[in-house]
């Protein structure tokens, strides 16, 4: 049912907030020049607010609504207990500038999380400050910059493969580095000789997503890292796809200097419709001096916030990052422990099951075993006048969230399916069945696909019009 915009509702004088009675005298008036009128907000009753957001929520699809095979996003089940834990009054009401003696519980949790992230990557040090994956990438590039600065160097280029995550070039650019595009091979992975051809002493290094956005493991990683290191460069690993390889790879042995995590992907903190996330980084001993301050450090039996790291890139967040997200990741890792390896195994098993089950209906971008996601193209559909977008929209009508579409760019009309380990085989079978049905419909009744979705609150939206005449603020 239709739900108005907030400011189309309400009446002056209503309020959905319990205003405390004042127990103090009124302060003297503000000088006229400073005094304003207050914001032009609608006044609503509590029930109006409750119904508004209840209805809005009903137009949304989340992991709890059904399978959400959005590639590269790791939309796994988010344990309900975590919400309860994050709301514990001690955590939720903690002021970030509390004296250390009054905040040991928070500092200890952060320290332990750092230790666990180190154990998962095999690297030497960690910072929890980055507030999202792209913030972690930015942190990584700043670490690169600081590392070279400390050596009196300024490197202005960085190698970024076509199978890397979309944010990588922008993160590098913010640090004044120009991306050098690197093409993946016909097998979908990177080759050492191509890296060697690009890498030089003006190049800061490389940013590799591994497994890459085609769902393939970069088997030449170690060789590539060696080439980069030989030229004095550094290796950044985008760890957004960590869900595929926990317990199987050792980032340090691979030659990684910096890796970031997406806690909201791998460690199942909910995505919240676009955040908040958390993007901690792990680094080698060599890069540790450059990590952001403050750092959480153990001193005797207690924990302190240490800022005295003269080579540090500095502060990256007003306080210590998204603590409320960090604690959910702590809870997730503590709930699974070594079973995180099983998480990766089943994530990869699920992806290969889908790959194998759909490979006769949709064109695989690359043959062979994949990691935690598999990528199809719409090559075989074009004959029917049907595109990846139509498949995606039709899936909505069949009760599924669509896969990631048109990314990675390296595959035309790509559909990137990441089922995650929390989906049961029955659910995978239902998804496979829906995809097969759509394949048949593409042939027999393409119009059904072109007109979909038909069961949603709104149908296909005019995105071009939205961009051409932007209306970004309502009710003016």
């Amino acid at each position: 049912f239709k739900e108005s915009l907030l400011w189309e509702k309400g009446k002056k004088g209503r309020m959905a907030f319990s205003m405390p009675l004042s127990d103090v005298p009124s302060a003297e008036e503000l000088p006229c020049a400073m005094a304003g009128d207050g914001p032009d907000f609608p006044d609503l009753s509590e029930l109006e607010v409750v119904r508004h957001y209840t209805r809005l929520s009903q137009w949304n699809y989340g992991v709890d609504s059904g399978m959400y095979p959005l590639g590269s996003c790791t939309m796994k089940y988010n344990p309900k207990i975590h919400e309860k834990l994050a709301a514990l009054p001690g955590f939720a009401t903690a002021h970030p500038l509390l004296p250390e003696s009054l905040s040991q519980g928070a500092l200890g949790l952060m320290f332990e999380l750092q230790e666990m992230l180190k154990a998962i990557t095999g690297l030497d040090a960690a910072s929890l400050q980055p507030a999202a994956g792209a913030h972690g990438e930015l942190c990584g590039m700043m670490l690169f910059d600081a590392f070279f600065k400390a050596r009196g160097e300024k490197r202005t280029k960085i190698i970024i493969p076509d199978t890397a995550h979309g944010t990588n070039p922008a993160s590098a650019a913010l640090c004044g580095m120009k991306p050098l595009p690197l093409r993946s091979g016909p097998d979908g992975i990177l080759h050492a000789e191509d890296v060697a051809a690009l890498m030089d002493e003006n190049t800061a290094g490389i940013m590799i997503t591994n497994p890459n956005t085609l769902g393939l493991f970069e088997t030449n990683f170690a060789a590539i890292a060696a080439i980069v290191h030989e030229k004095g460069g550094l290796v950044y690993c985008d760890g957004a796809n960590m869900n595929a390889v926990m317990g199987y790879v050792d980032m340090k042995r691979m030659g990684v200097d910096v890796v970031h995590f997406n806690l909201h992907k791998t460690f199942s903190t909910p995505h919240g419709g676009g955040g908040p996330g958390a993007g901690p980084v792990c680094v080698t001993r060599e890069l540790e001096p450059f990590l952001p301050v403050p750092r959480v450090v153990k001193r005797g039996e207690g924990y302190v916030l240490e800022t005295d790291f003269p080579e540090s890139i500095g502060r990256l967040h007003a306080f210590y990052g998204n603590f409320g997200v960090l604690l959910k990741a702590w809870a997730y890792i503590r709930s699974l422990g070594g079973d995180l390896k099983r998480v990766s195994e089943l994530a990869v098993l699920n992806a290969n099951y889908i790959r194998e089950s759909l490979k006769d209906d949709y064109d695989l971008a690359y043959e062979g075993i994949c990691m935690h996601e598999c990528v199809f193209s719409d090559k075989g559909l074009k004959a029917f006048g049907v595109t990846t977008l139509d498949v995606a929209k039709r899936l909505i009508d069949l009760g599924f969230h669509p896969p990631t579409v048109y990314f990675p760019l390296v595959v035309s009309g790509s559909m990137m399916v990441e089922p995650t380990e929390t989906e049961s085989v029955e659910e995978l079978d239902r998804f496979i069945e829906a995809m097969k049905r759509i394949r048949k419909e593409a042939e027999s009744e393409p119009e059904t696909l072109l007109q979909s979705p038909s069961r949603t609150f709104v149908r296909r939206l005019d995105e071009t019009g939205a961009a051409r005449n932007p209306c970004l603020c309502g009710g003016m």
């Binding site: 304003g36 001690g90 040991q104 792209a134 419709g273």
Partner: protein, 447 residues
């Protein structure tokens, strides 16, 4: 494991379909050079019940704002949060959704963010707001980078030293790898507001940035700063850490700010030891194509029905790659939704009343502390924070009070060496007169 649905039979059947004989075979492609040689050194799994017990004891060890005796602000504020906010925000359709790439199944998130953008623009007096940044500090850094992009070759930005020190540190971090320069503007030691007298001498300025109320709690004259900035053909970036102030004081937009950004934690978001908070970011429509971050726009569907989509993506990194207006991808979407719920709960009427109550509480605390031997540091009017010079011997007393769970302000010496012995106090609507009396009395007794 309750999160993993696979039974042994499931795994066997799936392996057969795939045509491999074991799960390890799926990982055969990982070369030895990348492999982990030993199992991860992680503690044993905890049951849900042991996890709860562990975290409850950690949480209980933290001295929370619930005691109403933490008189700290400085970028994180204790405000009441109506119970309906966590309850509605916690609906899994909101929490377990991703960025709304597929608008047909994401209208809830999209409309909520569109409303957030609108309420934010109204609050700040601007034309348009984005869908959120990480926090107030990174929002300021992004605002200055945006001003540089708009400044067409100008290479400097000037920051008031009365901006939150952490925000200035984050700006420094963001600017360090770039070729751009950050200059600090002094504060007036008498009034506590920014001294703009040196501004004209700098030159090559893309922007100047002020915070109001500033770190000292003092209300700045943004109009004057805007006039001066515009006189230099620079932009005024106005930032804030306590948006509730705009219930009483003039908003930055009306005073001529070009970009307004800051921290929205006060608006219904738990303090959570500093995060997740909410980076709010707004600008004039003329500059919208340089706005960093995501934005939601209104449009129509095939049937002409109103709907919402992510838009202006040509500014964004997945299209523009290194030429994007920022690298931000995940933002603080759920926090933005929380703050919209909060603004909706209060409404114009409530927002103004609550702001007044905050100012009254702070005035009361200030008066009470003055009776306990504190003296005012700055002359400017304040909102819910203020600086005082402490009486002799206060540092020791402050430690004693801490043991009783009272946190008596924030020492400014750490951030401003010249202000050693002065303290920043904060009182919001959650501070009862009784708790403030208790603090003042405890201090008076000890002196």
């Amino acid at each position: 494991m309750r999160y993993l649905p696979h039974t042994e039979e499931d795994v066997a059947a799936m392996l057969e379909r795939i045509g491999v004989s074991s799960v390890e075979d799926l990982f055969a492609g990982i070369p030895e050079s990348c492999r982990s040689l030993r199992s991860m050194d992680l503690p044993r799994p905890l049951s849900e019940w042991d996890l709860i017990a562990r975290m409850e004891s950690m949480a209980a060890s933290i001295s929370g704002g619930a005691s109403h005796s933490v008189f700290l602000g400085a970028g994180s504020y204790s405000h009441y949060i109506p119970a309906l906010i966590p309850q509605l925000l916690g609906r899994s359709e909101f929490t377990t959704a991703y960025t709304p790439y597929q608008p047909e199944v994401s209208q809830g998130t999209l409309q909520a963010i569109f409303e957030y953008q609108t309420l934010t623009a109204r609050l700040l007096g601007m034309d348009v707001a984005n869908a959120s940044m990480y926090d107030g500090a990174s929002a300021l850094a992004e605002a200055l980078l945006m001003a540089i992009r708009l400044g067409k070759g100008r290479r400097k930005v000037a920051l008031s030293s009365a901006i939150h020190p952490h925000y200035r540190q984050v700006v420094a971090t963001y600017f360090s790898p770039t070729e751009f320069e950050v200059i600090e503007l002094p504060y007036d030691p008498e009034t506590g507001v920014t001294d703009l007298s040196t501004l004209a001498d700098i030159g090559d300025l893309a922007a100047i940035a002020l915070q109001s109320p500033n770190f000292f709690g003092c209300i700045e004259d943004l109009q004057r700063a805007a006039d001066l900035a515009h006189g230099e053909k620079a932009l005024l970036v106005a930032c804030f850490s306590e948006p509730l102030a705009f219930g009483l004081i003039k908003n930055p937009g009306i005073q001529g700010a070009d970009i307004v950004c800051g921290e929205g934690q006060s608006l219904g978001i738990p303090q959570s030891f500093g995060g997740p908070g909410l980076g709010m970011f707004a600008c004039r429509m003329a500059h919208v194509r340089n706005l960093p971050g995501r934005v939601v726009g209104q449009t129509k569907d095939m049937d002409g029905k109103r709907g919402f989509v992510l838009t202006l993506s040509t500014r964004e990194q997945h299209i523009r790659r290194e030429k994007a207006t920022s690298n931000i991808c995940s933002n603080q979407g759920l926090c933005a939704t929380a703050s919209a719920m909060y603004m909706a709960c209060l409404g114009a009427t409530g927002f103004r009343k609550l702001a007044a109550l905050n100012r009254d509480k702070a005035a009361y605390l200030k008066k009470r502390l003055e009776t306990a031997g504190f003296t005012p540091l700055f002359k400017s009017p304040v909102f819910n924070e203020f600086c005082l010079k402490a009486p002799e011997g206060f540092s020791k007393i402050r430690k004693k009070l801490m043991e009783k769970g009272m946190v008596a302000g924030l020492g400014l010496g750490e951030f401003y060496p010249e202000l050693e012995g002065t303290f920043l106090f904060c009182a919001t609507e959650t501070a009862s007169a009784a708790s403030m009396d208790r603090l003042a009395d405890a201090i008076r007794e000890e002196i």
